[in-house]
Amino acid sequence: MSREAANLLVVRRLLVVVAAAFFLGFALVPLYEIACEKVFGIKLDGAGVTASEARAMTVDPSRTIRVRFDATVNSALDWEFAPKHRVVEVHPGQLTQAWFTATNRASHPVVGNAVPSVAPNTASIYFNKTECFCFTEQLLAGGETRDMPVVFVIDPAIPREVRELTLGYAFFLNDTATRRVVAADVAATPRS
């Protein structure tokens, strides 16, 4: 093989490595999710379980778990947001409803999205929500206050050493949806 051909072969092979490495950078996104959920048992998305799945769990009255609620609002969103009660005590397997209250301090409609998180993170796969305001976009009119429910059940399979956990929500501004709502409002307003 001539030297030129040999060089070209090396370049071709290395470019394949480069392309694979670039691809790997993006593949790390799903790999990260798989590693968190399947290897380390940390639930990243707030995906819920169905109500029938939740009812199928047997209540374990021998144990009580203290659930704390935490609420924060991202600085880009002009809302107030707080849980109705700071703490509830529940039995594993028991379907429980909790309420959060959000107020839009702006004078125009704003859409927000709540992102849930459970601490300690290793308990997150045992924490199941059947109903949550975090599943959908929340539209609040200017000045509107709304009570928002979350219904959850703790899997009785949760390790015994977990006696307390925290459910936190952070509300973020949903720019795109807010623009869509404002545009729809303008279109719906009859011209005089």
Binding site: V17, A21, F22, G25, L28, Y32, V115, A170
Partner: protein, 536 residues
């Protein structure tokens, strides 16, 4: 150009016009020189930024610059030093020395070599122009963690495109080096006879092509998050900012070895020369380098122990990180064993090499301290980290580069540098760099956070000492430029071998090395190679 090519068999013919000589050059020595000069300029630019940082930190309180500008300085200092000074310096040394060390007439892909270099000025124009744009340069640190990096102005787009260009430049340079080493070796120059500088660069080049594309991917995701509404890292849209840290450090940890492995190679050339003994454990050095490179891919999360990782992951990353101390220990042991009962002399390259061995090891030990998870919760994001990585990067990578420059400078210019000035430069740098960085260990242990323009008065004394060391070290590098300038113009004529104990092909060509060398492959005589006898 036609006549130019026609006369190309004239061996010492250099292109005459300035543009032909430098802009259109495909000569490995000229491109090497371009890289080295570029790196020196960037070293001074990044150094000037460090002087701003140390001046502001001279006393508690805000004296000289706005906090925003201070944050721009810390970010730009890191990006300029990593991508502008350290990496191009190693590529420049590789361009100059690898063909000479393996008996090749030039790099395998000379035109691509030219392009690799000439991307850099454009990349750094994009990066540095952000300093004068509205909103200023990026302020989120060189790691560009979101959400902070996405909350600034549009300068992040300039930074990302600059990183793309630097990445393309590095990848092309790495492909070129691999092709050169695999295909261009003189007959008889087996892989396990190659000098260690060439070996470490071969391994470094593989690291580069494996991780620079990952960085390109990470910053591309930042770009689309900022401007195209994606949510890779944006929590509001269901993304995860911690994911960025994982992707970044998957690049970032091999990157820190990219910045040190070639320095290991340089030191492994210099210590045998001035000990007048072959390197102790040549093959062990090669395998240790390869082991370090492999381990660098599986330890990344030790940079982010405090994000809230499961205990199992923390334990794994802690032990995997500590494992790196084994091959690194092999290297340090072999350097010391090479000197054992050697006939030592202490010319400037040897002084820098010894400084490297001692001070890099200090940086390595503080790295081990940082690897201990429970201790890291105290050290994380403090000046202890700053002290650690400056010991491995300044007294490690930069001292390695300076050792290499003094070692090979007579081969490049044909003149011996002024030995007295070289020694002054070494002692001046070594004393000041320790005054500069050693107190930062104490500041970090006492809890001073990194990347802040103001601090508690309790930290005042050590910061003042550190700043004084910083100014002295900065001045020492201006003196270094003078030493280099002087040595490039005149001095004692260098012999072909330059150093009494030097072995290897690069010392068989005249000093200064002619424009074209090894047009005909050299005949390899194992006894004249540094590592010809693989059984030792």
């Amino acid at each position: 150009m036609a006549t130019h090519s026609a006369t190309h068999d004239d061996h010492d013919h250099k292109p005459q016009g300035f543009l032909d000589r430098w802009l259109f050059t495909t000569n490995h020595k000229d491109i090497g020189t371009l890289y080295l000069v570029w790196s020196l300029i960037m070293f001074l630019v990044g150094g000037a930024m460090a002087m701003v940082i140390r001046a502001e930190l001279f006393q508690p309180g805000l004296q000289l610059v706005h906090p925003e500008f201070f944050n721009q300085m810390t970010t730009m200092h890191a990006l300029v030093m990593i991508f502008g000074a350290v990496m191009p310096a190693f590529v420049g040394l590789a361009n100059w020395m690898i063909p000479l060390q393996i008996g090749a007439p030039d790099m395998a892909l000379p035109r691509m070599n030219n392009w690799s270099f000439w991307l850099l000025p454009f990349a750094f124009f994009l990066l540095l122009v952000t300093l004068v744009l509205p909103g200023g340069a990026p302020q989120a640190g060189w790691t560009l963690y979101p959400p902070l990096s996405l909350q600034g102005g549009y300068s992040i787009a300039f930074t990302i495109f600059a990183i793309h260009l630097m990445g393309i430049s590095s990848i092309m340079g790495a492909i070129n080096i691999i092709a050169t080493i695999l295909n261009m070796r003189a007959p008889g120059m087996d892989l396990l006879k190659m000098p260690l500088f060439t070996w470490t660069w071969l391994i470094t080049a593989f690291l580069l092509i494996a991780v620079m594309p990952v960085l390109a991917g990470a910053v591309t995701m930042l770009l689309t998050d900022k401007f195209f509404g994606t949510s890779f890292f944006n929590a509001a849209g269901g993304g995860d900012p911690v994911l960025f840290q994982h992707v970044f450090w998957f690049f970032g940890h091999p990157e820190v070895y990219i910045m040190i492995l070639p320095a290991f190679g340089i030191i492994s050339e210099i210590i045998p020369t001035f000990s007048r003994k072959p390197l102790f454990g040549y093959q062990a050095m090669v395998y240790a380098t390869a082991s370090i490179a492999f381990l660098s891919f599986i330890v990344w999360a030790h940079h982010m122990f405090t994000v809230g990782m499961p205990v199992g992951a923390q334990l794994y990353f802690m032990y995997a990180t500590m494992l790196i101390a084994v091959p690194t220990g092999v290297k340090v042991f072999n350097w010391v064993a090479t000197m054992w009962r050697g006939s030592l002399t202490f010319e400037t390259p040897m002084l820098f090499a010894l400084g490297f061995v001692i001070m890099f090891t200090i940086g390595g030990f503080s790295g081990l301290m940082l690897a201990i998870v429970p201790a890291d919760y105290q050290y994380h994001d403090t000046y202890f980290v700053v002290a650690h990585f400056h010991y491995v990067l300044v007294t490690g990578a930069i001292f390695g580069i300076m050792a290499g420059v003094y070692y090979w400078l007579p081969k490049w210019t044909g003149f011996m540098y002024d030995e007295k000035l070289g020694k002054i430069h070494f002692w001046w740098s070594t004393i000041s760099v320790n005054v500069l960085f050693f107190p930062q260990h104490f500041l970090g242990l006492a809890g001073m956070p990194r990347r802040i323009p103001d601090y508690n008065v309790a930290f005042a004394e050590f910061n003042m000492i550190s700043s004084i060391g910083g100014f002295a070290f900065g001045l020492a590098q201006v003196f270094f430029v003078y030493v280099l300038w002087k040595a490039s113009r005149a001095g004692v004529k260098a012999t072909d071998q330059v150093w009494e104990g030097a072995k290897g092909l690069e010392w068989t060509v005249p000093s200064p090395a002619p424009h074209h060398t090894f047009q005909r492959p050299p005949v390899i005589d194992d006894s004249k190679l540094a590592h010809g006898d693989v059984t030792h």
